[in-house]
């Protein structure tokens, strides 16, 4: 511990109501380091960092920058202190454009006037986005972007602040490899220029590649701070989950699937702009992964199967019948865990219980009345099974930590026992422990005959879950491969980029 701490947070306490969330947490950050902040869902990582950025006010404890105590009572105080944050739940205004969001409160002015220079703002945004390696029109409203792109806007916004301390709360949760790599390059560049970075992530693989030090939190306390060089993933996971609770997030070969007739047949699907001709099948009990670049149209395919989008041509046949719209799809047992939990997955102002119940109302309704007592059992089981950290089923979804919110979205569909489960970025923000439990649950359900389509930008995840992987490239399924034939993430990565590898292994499904 040679370098002096640039930022010192010591003995930070914070409770919401009577519930303590942070109990004497200490955290330090050196100049120019990348410091990973790890911990299970609900451990208090986001809360700690929101205290640093003035969103929440601590109950007690001190914060020092360069040895000087500092009062970060609101977001502008933090900004003045040179602290910027990429928020997990996105601090973007959906009705404003990308450029307007990035420069909110800091808009460039027409020189000598109080008026905003809109074209300059757009120009600067474009430059920033280019640096991040994406092509987003700065004048599109943020509300119409997919989550991945929103995340990039959020990153661009934080970067544009030229902060001394940059907090990244799961910045890559919706990004795919290419964008993640671009981000890492940027992180390295920032680091070189002396900026200190707090990096929160549940993606184990990336942590050790970029961080200098790691701090692990558990249940509102710091349990470990150490140099990354000395650490292994296993050690971190053990610190996060507690001794003896090691989680395995590894692929099992479930063996060849019984030769059943496909339950889902996608035929020559053509969707506006990105998808040209997509054909594939899924059989009952099979877990199929769909890989592709960001914006390659995976979400659009998922939504088309779910009946929410109309194809330009082609068809989706489920259990022998074409899908006639979303409600037909749901009625017949198709479920979709959407990629944007806040927008599409949850009624944030409703309780955990109401959210879990929503797709299952019909099941618990007798004589027009919802049987709440009976329903509560299911809800409690879901909370237990997915280890959702909540004070109770009546807590508002909004007040849960990011990962726990995601678990509700998955849980509410699992409770319905679907025949085809489509998971679009299912484990965004979910900690490693819960991830492996979720994967285990899904496997168990697949063993009982549920078909699964998984979309993920996290190759590790795709590799861990899928029996079969489809690669979407240039609007077509460029490759179909059996998981057991894919040796490494590297290989898959190449396939996604459009390199046809080892064509001999392509299976005919």
């Amino acid at each position: 511990m040679s370098a002096p701490a640039f930022l010192e947070m010591s003995d930070i306490r914070k409770s919401f109501g009577t519930i303590p969330v942070l109990q004497r947490v200490s955290f330090s950050l050196r100049k120019g380091e990348v410091h990973a902040l790890m911990g299970g869902n609900g451990a208090g990582k986001s809360t700690l960092m929101k205290i640093l950025t003035g969103v929440y006010t601590k109950d007690s404890g001190t914060i020092r920058i360069d040895g000087q105590p500092i009062d970060l009572h609101d977001t502008s105080a933090a900004e003045r202190a040179g602290i910027a944050m990429i928020f997990q739940e996105f601090s973007l205004v959906p009705t404003l454009t990308v450029a307007q969001n990035i420069w909110l409160k800091r808009e460039p002015r027409l020189s000598g006037t109080p008026f905003i220079n809109n074209s300059e703002m757009v120009r600067r945004s474009r430059a920033l986005l280019e640096e991040l390696g994406v092509d987003i029109d700065p004048e599109t409203p943020v509300g119409s972007l997919s989550v991945g792109f929103m995340q990039i806007v959020e990153i661009a916004k934080a970067l544009s602040k030229n902060a001394r301390i940059l907090v990244m709360d799961e910045p890559t949760s919706s990004l795919s490899e290419a964008e993640t790599e671009a981000l890492f390059d940027l992180v390295a560049k920032l680091k070189r220029s002396g900026i200190s970075i707090v990096y929160i992530s549940h993606r184990m693989a990336e942590i050790l590649t970029i961080c200098d030090r790691v701090t692990v939190m558990r249940d509102g306390q710091t349990v470990l701070t150490d140099d990354c060089a000395d650490m292994t993933v296993e050690q971190i996971v053990e610190a996060m989950l507690g001794r003896g609770n090691t989680a395995s997030f590894e692929w099992h070969d479930r063996g060849p699937r019984p030769d059943a007739a496909p339950i889902l047949q996608v035929r020559n699907l053509r969707l506006p702009t990105r998808v040209n001709d997509v054909t594939f099948d899924i059989r009952p009990g099979e877990i199929v992964g769909l890989a592709g670049l960001m914006g390659s149209g995976r979400t659009e395919i998922a939504e088309t199967i779910f009946g929410r989008r109309a194809p330009v041509s082609g068809e989706v046949i489920f259990a022998g019948q074409p899908v006639r719209g979303q409600f037909d799809a749901i009625d017949r047992g198709i479920a979709l865990v959407p990629e944007d939990r806040r927008k599409m997955g949850l009624v944030l102002e409703h309780s955990v219980k109401d959210n879990v119940l929503l797709p299952n109302l019909a099941r618990f309704t007798r004589n027009f009345l919802v049987q709440d007592a009976e329903a509560l059992k299911t809800v409690n089981r879901t909370i237990r099974d997915l280890s959702i950290k909540t004070d109770g089923p009546d807590k508002l979804a909004r007040l849960l930590s990011g990962g726990n919110q995601q678990k509700i979205v998955i849980g509410k569909w699992l409770a319905r026992d679907p025949r085809l489960l489509i998971l679009d970025e299912p484990t965004i923000g979910v900690d490693i422990g819960a991830k492996s439990e979720i994967v285990a649950t899904i496997r168990a359900m697949a063993d009982r005959g549920m078909a699964v389509l998984v979309i993920s930008s996290e190759l590790e995840e795709l590799m861990a879950i899928s029996d079969r992987i489809l690669v979407l490239h240039a609007g077509r399924i460029a490759q179909k491969m059996n998981r057991r034939d894919v040796a490494s993430e590297e290989e898959l990565h190449h396939a996604i980029q459009g390199h046809h590898i080892q064509p001999s292994r392509v299976v005919h499904a």
Partner: protein, 324 residues
């Protein structure tokens, strides 16, 4: 921690003390009742008759407000309720004048409300026009229609059964208007709180997209809600006409604002997703009680307005923690 950061970190409509606020309307209702009981209890305020009167005169607003709670919970607004009430009242009265029996008139009246409701629902859910505009236009259109149909003349209702049932009658000593409003409020309460439809309404208003992804047919839900609102407005129209034994084109003017006020006062969020029928009922009674009490106190109209306006604000301010 200062309360400041807590508040400012979430939108104003979703206060954490929402639970507590829900009770404020009841507490305030009791407080207002208590205040009047002490100050003007001896001037007739506390008589059974007067208390019944409060319930009776608020019955129409209550009925409309119950359905309005559904509409607002689903994230929409219905401004056409007042003129729809008049339409239904006129329809019923004209059908009776034409010699039909009152049950037929009632069916026709409710039918007219359903027609307006389904038009609103159509424009909002199928065409996708903001409900504020649709129902504002409808409010004018229907009011114009009401005028046209009757040349602005009142239509009197002679049917004694009808007038007793929907107006000044009593059952077991309880005014029928009170019974109507209690029954409608109860049904509304059960539907909103204990049925799948109620949950779907709240989910639709809370996050329409998420509700859709969960299989809620949000268009159908909204359409139904407008139908219900039309039917409730029509019932209110029948109550107006039963009470006055007459139907007139200008019944229910301003009822939409009164009803919305009752709903919001009761603790329902104007932005949808949260609704409480019992709060609405209390809100409606609170408004009625204030109006009644101030008249008995002998305040003149301008004073009544000032005090009533002030109380509405204070009633809610009261439930807030100081400085929060």
């Amino acid at each position: 921690m200062q309360s400041k950061a807590t508040i400012s970190s979430r939108p104003a409509s979703f206060m954490p003390d929402f639970q507590w606020r829900n009770y404020v309307v009841y507490i305030f209702f009791v407080a207002v009742l208590g205040f009047f009981a002490v100050t003007i209890g001896d001037k007739g305020f506390l008589t059974m008759m007067n208390l019944f009167n409060i319930a009776r005169t608020t019955a129409m607003i209550t009925v409309i407000a119950v359905a309005m709670t559904f509409v607002i919970s689903s994230g929409e607004l219905d401004l056409s309720v007042g003129s729809t009430a008049a339409l239904a009242a006129l329809t019923g009265a004209l059908v009776m004048q034409a010699g039909f029996a009152w049950p037929i008139a009632v069916v026709a009246a409710i039918g007219s409300g359903l027609v307006v409701g389904s038009l609103n629902g159509f424009f909002v859910t199928v065409i996708g026009i903001p409900s504020f505009l649709v129902t504002l236009g409808m409010m004018q259109f229907v009011r114009g229609f009401d005028m046209r149909v009757t040349y602005t003349n009142p239509v009197s209702i002679a049917d004694k059964t009808f007038n007793a049932l929907f107006g000044s009658g009593k059952f077991f000593g309880i005014p029928s208007l009170l019974i109507w409003s209690v029954v409608i409020a109860l049904i509304g309460h059960i539907v909103l709180k204990y049925t799948g439809f109620g949950r779907e309404i709240l989910a639709t208003g809370g996050n329409r997209q998420a509700a859709e992804y969960s299989g809620v047919k949000t268009r159908r839900v909204k359409f139904m809600v407008f139908l219900l609102s039309g039917a409730a407005a029509a019932l209110a129209g029948l109550l107006y006409s039963g009470m006055m034994q007459t139907a007139r084109f200008n019944f229910g003017e301003g009822a939409e604002l009164m009803a919305i006020a009752a709903v919001i006062l009761g603790g329902t969020s104007l932005f949808g997703g949260k609704g409480t029928i019992l709060g609405t009922f209390a809100g409606s009674l609170l408004i009625g009680t204030i109006n009644n009490g101030l008249i008995i106190m002998g305040l003149d109209v301008s004073e009544q307005m000032m005090v009533a306006g002030g109380i509405i604000i204070l009633a809610v301010a009261f439930g807030k923690k100081p400085g929060a």
